[in-house]
């Protein structure tokens, strides 16, 4: 799909040594094999069930309904916008966390990753209290600029960016830590400003990490449910993203819900496939 980022060609992470050419050793110990197989079945079974129960025959009919298209379009658009927001704000934040030393940095990093573990609905409520019409900041947005975020597509983007950005920040920060800072330093000693060094040296160096983080953030934004429905509500064509459509379709039309889920499943598989090329070298 639309991947904000760069067209990095087969850049491999230079984090660890060569791990290719894995020779399967004979004699896998049973205490390891058994739970491994059960674990694999546990992860795959629900997906198989989804495929097995899919209404293949009226799938085309299901997927061409206007509501599905509206939801899908909105999902793709808002997830992409949320990823763009995450990139613009998240990459500098990751750089700050990885390259500068300030008091309380560990705490800041913990706070940045908080939305990862926060239940999304709680995130949605928190967003309402901050940016809602009556929120701490939201009431001024409303009073001064006439901007209200809840119940708008912009609100969907805000909710998705809130939960997706930490993924990008963590991913980029990890890449930055693994990257050698001496290149930047060399560039600055040769007369480049800090920002030029960042733009011309660091960015190309960590591009694969940024791309991977962006894909992750995008996928997370696409699947966002709790924060979206709490902060932006549910209105077809404006704030009803795919996950919301799935949830509500489940109430009265399970077939439609399964069809929608298949679309999301296909998208997530595509994302994983895209990531695999970058992160797993010659994985079978």
């Amino acid at each position: 799909m639309t991947r904000p980022g760069t067209s990095d060609t087969a850049a491999r992470p230079r984090v660890d040594g060569p791990r290719r050419g894995r020779v399967p050793r004979p004699g896998v110990p049973l205490p390891l094999l058994l739970p491994a197989v059960i674990g694999l079945a546990f992860l795959l079974l629900p997906l198989i069930a989804l495929l097995a129960r899919a209404p293949w025959r009226d799938l085309p009919h299901q997927l061409t309904s206007t509501e599905v298209w509206q939801a899908l379009q909105l999902s793709l658009l808002s997830a992409t916008a949320a990823t763009a927001v995450s990139l613009v704000l998240g990459v500098p934040l990751a750089w700050l966390l990885a390259r500068t030393d300030f008091p309380g940095r560990g705490l800041v990093r913990a706070l940045v990753t908080l939305p990862l573990v926060l239940p999304p609905v709680v995130g949605g409520v928190a967003l309402l209290l901050a940016l809602g019409r009556n929120g701490i900041v939201g009431q001024w947005l409303d009073a001064w600029f006439g901007i209200t975020l809840p119940f708008t597509t912009a609100g969907v983007v805000v909710a998705e960016a809130f939960v997706a950005m930490p993924f990008l920040v963590i991913s980029v920060e990890g890449t930055l830590r693994a990257a050698d800072p001496r290149y930047e330093e060399a560039a600055t000693t040769l007369g480049a400003s800090r920002f030029t060094a960042f733009r011309r040296v660091t960015l190309p160096l960590i591009a694969p990490g940024i791309a991977a983080g962006a894909v992750l953030a995008w996928a997370r934004a696409l699947g966002e449910f709790g924060a979206t429905i709490t902060f932006a509500g549910n209105f077809p064509g404006r704030t009803q993203t795919m996950p919301l459509a799935v949830y509500l379709a489940l109430q009265n039309d399970p077939a439609a819900a399964i069809a929608l889920s298949l679309v999301l499943l296909a998208v997530s598989i595509a994302v994983l496939a895209g990531l695999r090329d970058r992160w797993m070298t010659a994985a079978s």
């Binding site: 660890d16 997906l47 908080l114 996928a219 109430q251």
Partner: protein, 279 residues
């Protein structure tokens, strides 16, 4: 909580987590092993006064979100009346509850907010007896405290610039609101179709929306955080609340006793006190 020194390889694990998250979405309904303790499903009318028969153990009640306050109170009454019993509740959207019951969730009693959602369970032959209507609920408009927008009728909700939330058509309160709107011939475009009645109400409580069409009982439960406005069209869309004993009830005797309490004069007093109408 903070994890230090993340290698970019770690992203892989995150990828897995994301994928799992995405997939989790497709499995919304909770289903668990039905503790299929084969209970002989005997006909019960449950209309009698609370029996003084010895019941014990746990009663699991699945009930519509709008019953939360009144059923919680009745549960405490029941535990007092029958020492040695515990009533556990699962409150939620009627359709979600119905889906989990047909999916095999272990429950003794189901109280739904509409005959349509109860029908999901009866169609799956998961009830032990015929559901009975025990209360009815009428719609009301919830406005901001003090009613600053001067809303006095359903028609006032169609004023431009007013942010109104409705329940989604798939849930009982949304279906009822649609019925009332159709009856009055009004076209109303809300800012959001909420997934259940409580979240519609919350939007008004948080002042994010100016008004919501919810149940009378919800307005009452919200206290002074919202103000209720009655409207005549609500008579066109009064919701019946059916209650039924479930076929796979693990504790049918206690479940019958609980249903009896709900339908007794005492139960009726609690329910009407919460704003429900007599059946």
């Amino acid at each position: 909580m903070t994890r230090s020194e993340r290698r970019s390889r770690r992203t892989l694990q995150l990828t897995g987590a994301v994928a799992a998250g995405l997939l989790a979405l497709s499995a919304c309904s909770s289903s668990s092993d039905s503790g299929s303790s084969d209970s002989g499903s005997k006909e019960t009318s449950g209309a009698s006064a609370p029996s003084s028969a010895k019941v014990s153990g746990t009663v699991t009640v699945f009930a519509a979100a709008s019953l939360k306050e009144s059923f919680t109170a009745l549960g405490q009454t029941f535990e007092k009346q029958h020492p040695g019993t515990t009533v556990t509740f699962s409150f939620g959207g009627s359709d979600t509850l119905a889906a989990s019951i047909t999916g095999g969730a272990p429950a003794d009693v189901f109280a739904a907010a509409s005959p349509k959602t109860m029908a999901i369970v009866t169609d799956a032959k998961d009830t032990a007896d015929t559901p009975v209507t025990f209360v009815r609920n009428q719609l009301e408009i919830a406005t901001l405290p003090g009613n600053p927008d001067k809303i006095s009728s359903l028609k006032d909700l169609t004023k431009s610039g007013l942010k109104v939330v409705l329940c989604d058509k798939t849930v009982p309160c949304g279906a009822a609101a649609q019925k009332a709107l159709d009856a009055s011939g009004l076209k109303l475009t809300p800012v959001s179709y909420e997934q259940d009645v409580k979240s519609a109400l919350t939007k008004v409580e948080l002042k994010e929306a100016d008004a919501a069409v919810v149940y009378k009982t919800d307005v009452q439960a919200a206290g002074d955080k919202v103000e209720g406005v009655e409207f005549p069209e609500s008579a066109e869309a009064v919701n019946d609340y059916p209650i039924a004993l479930l076929k796979d009830a693990g504790n049918p005797e206690a479940a019958k006793a609980f249903i009896a309490l709900v339908r007794s004069a005492e139960g009726s007093k609690v329910l009407t006190g919460a704003g429900f109408l007599e059946p």
